[in-house]
């Protein structure tokens, strides 16, 4: 099975709730105090995108986690085999005991998902495996005020995509990531 995310750009208003929910759930250490202006690891990143010129400008928000790609290039790039992909869930995981902090994964990932905290080792979204096992939604999904973020198996996501006229993100890494705009 392959688990993944669905993201509805037409509903995302850039409220940052998912990003903070993720930080709370994963106890991500902030960096603002040690180094004002910087940020600690962001397993979920809310980005503001602006296109077009005034007065016809368009403003959108995208919330990006690790996409748990079907063919994760981070895994291929890792020299210590610290990154693995679960056969049962398709979730891409990192083993911190093997990671040496070389950042090859970061250069390889087309989505900028790998994050690096104080330890210098790679860390990232694990699709809240522990919560999902208990029958809960990932923290970002549970808190999203516009219900823009959903998760599920590839089959569930494909069904949702058909209902919501959405598209699967096309990419060489085969991300199970569905977008609606």
């Amino acid at each position: 099975m392959q688990m993944g995310f669905f993201f509805d750009i037409s509903r995302c208003t850039g409220c940052y709730s998912c990003e903070i929910a993720c930080k709370q759930k994963n106890n991500l250490k902030p960096n603002a105090e040690a180094n004002p202006g910087s940020t600690g690891p962001r397993w979920r990143r809310v980005l503001e995108l602006e296109t077009g010129q005034y007065p016809e400008e368009q403003v959108s928000y995208v919330s990006l986690p690790c996409l748990h790609c079907g063919k994760p290039v981070c895994l291929e790039a890792c020299p210590t085999k610290a990154i693995s992909k679960s056969i049962e869930t398709g979730i891409v995981n990192v083993d911190k005991t093997k990671c040496i902090g070389c950042r090859y994964c970061f250069w390889a990932c087309p989505f900028g998902a790998p994050q690096f905290g104080d330890s210098g080792l790679m860390e990232k979204c694990d699709l809240c495996s522990d919560r999902v096992k208990e029958g809960k939604s990932p923290a970002c999904v549970a808190t999203c005020p516009t219900k823009a973020i959903k998760f599920g198996s590839l089959e569930e996501l494909e069904k949702l995509a058909r209902e919501k006229a959405s598209k699967k993100l096309i990419g060489a890494t085969q991300p199970p990531f569905f977008l609606r705009y």
Partner: protein
Amino acid sequence: MFVNDVGVSGGEANPVRSVCGRCHNHCNIDVFLREGKVIGVEGVQDDPRTKGSLCSKGLAAVQYLNDPRRLLYPVRRIGKRGEGKWKRISWDEALNEIAEKFNSIKKKSEPQAVLFCRGQAATWGFPYDILIRLAHAFGNEPCMGSSECFVPRALGEALTNGGFAMHHDFPKTDLIILWGWNPTFGTPTQQHFIFDAKERGARLIAIDPLRFHIGAKADLFVRIEPGTDLSLALAMMYVIVEEALWDRECVNEWTNDPGLKELRKHLNGNNRDGIVYSPEWAESITGISKKIITDLAREYATTKRACMLTGHGLEGRINVTQTGRATAILKAITGHFDAEGCDVVVPLGPPRNPKFFLNELMAGKHLEEKPVVDFNNPLLYYPVKDVTYPLLLAGQGLIPTPDALRWIDEGRAKAVFMQGGNPLLMLPQPDEVRNSFERLELLVVVDPYLTETAQIADIVLPAATYLERTEISWFKYEWYLPILYLRQKVAQIGEARSDVQIIIDLARKLGLDEYFPKDDPVYYMDEILKPTGITVAELKKHPEGIPYGTISYQKYKTEGINLPEGKVNIISRILEQFNFDPLPVYVDGSETPRRKDLARDYPIIAFSGRPGPMFVHCQQRSIPWIRELRPEPQAMINPKTASEYRITTGDDVLVESPRGKIKIKSEVTNKIGPGQIYIPGGWAQSNYNNIGISRDLDPISGMANYMTCLCRISKI
């Protein structure tokens, strides 16, 4: 300090159901504890209002609770004002000293020499109510004391419709207009209703100077020059009246201007200035084309089920109350007031025991024996000596801030008790405000932090956060279910006490035992809830809350309207009685591009507003997760304007008004139109209020004109 052991991974059985108190929107939360320590909060998954969601502000609760910058015990100033030298004192010492001083000031002069002020931090509801009780028991009216948002707009609505329709019937609506209101900031957890409506086919229209957040998702975005909303509202009214798009039944039977004869004359130039409030006229002021204005008016008037949500964007200007009046009139004449699929009146709080407020001590007798419900009661009026803005006092029961500041300057007010407000940051021209506050014999600030205002206080008392207090809670926004909930104490940090407890303790030290016979806040909560028959003990058994009212439509048809003539006041009889324009007359801001004398040297419109979805007013800047989302304030400038001044994103920009200057980093963006600069509010290091206008006040509410002015900009 980083709080370890955070993170709700599941497995934490039986979270405590409570109510968030980070802002006035009061969402239900589940608080997760491990070995007695709060490890996280989440939205309540089966909550009908939030559908499990919680915003960034609420989700950072653990860092807020454990913030090492919090004040943990009472302190007394030992150095000069603002020097930052403090001595830790005990609660008894602090309260005794305050009580002694308050009583001696009262004895030497009058009870009105001590002002009991309130700010946002305590949040709407019981903490405000018990402050009224304390003030009345002491012999004074409570006081606003900080920025007067929301109330003047609510006043405009109440003067027209006898209530403020704060529940929006999203599931049944076909049109949602967000006017100067961005739910992503103020009510993020109810945004799902708006998108569900949109997916069902409802249209979303945003009227705002800035296209961002939910406004960027609108089907129609109407960009308006900041501060000119009244002009747009009057022109929309003009179209609706001239094209006869108004609701015959509603207007002829339920308003005091049947046939809209008076309104029509008024809009056609029979007004103080002789101006015809046509779309052509509004185009020249708002910058919105007359076609869009006309289409907008037509769409609103002809869509039977339409919501119009107005917000803080309509505030902080000289015409704020009349703007609130105008939007209320628009709702009334189109039949959208209190109707299905529209803006609906719900009781904005449980019916509260009128005796609790001790009004008779001030007014000499019970003025209002009926239970008290915010803004739904007829305007309560009894004259208070030397209050310049009696209608704000009447609508809200608060001495307006300008009067309070004047009383301090004139030496009439000698002491201030400031509950969770930070006027030294949030009022225009902070230096003037500082000068006023420095005159005081005693300034007491109750706050979780040593704010700018606390820095010049004599005694600062550490207020508990919402996770450290048990309190009845009802106030909400937007999806206003009339349900009473209980906020539960789940932590205790330092010696912090709840605002309510502090007020009770102080009252007892003041010798007001007759009105404050018990130490336990629960006694007072049960007292105030008497008309509902609900008690705190019962609320504890009902984590899902207990309803205190119902939601129904067009109640005016059976209950009438709580205003003179018993009808919707298109012509405001109350304003007439106080010698204000009974129909809204357009008053332009005191600094606009139409002021040719000023605009030559100050060609850019500067305006301010709420700082973003992650902050509440000036708060939360010290919460690391939150601060990382916005490490510093950035002023928005359109690329066209930026290129004229050779400014690129990240440059330091000097913004100068006739009153002051600030330095701020720039964000070059198309979200804003040319010729303007947007300065997010509540930032101490780049405070818009340094350039803002403190003088020209709304004559009805006394609200400061703190949102727009003219400026010039240059790259540093």
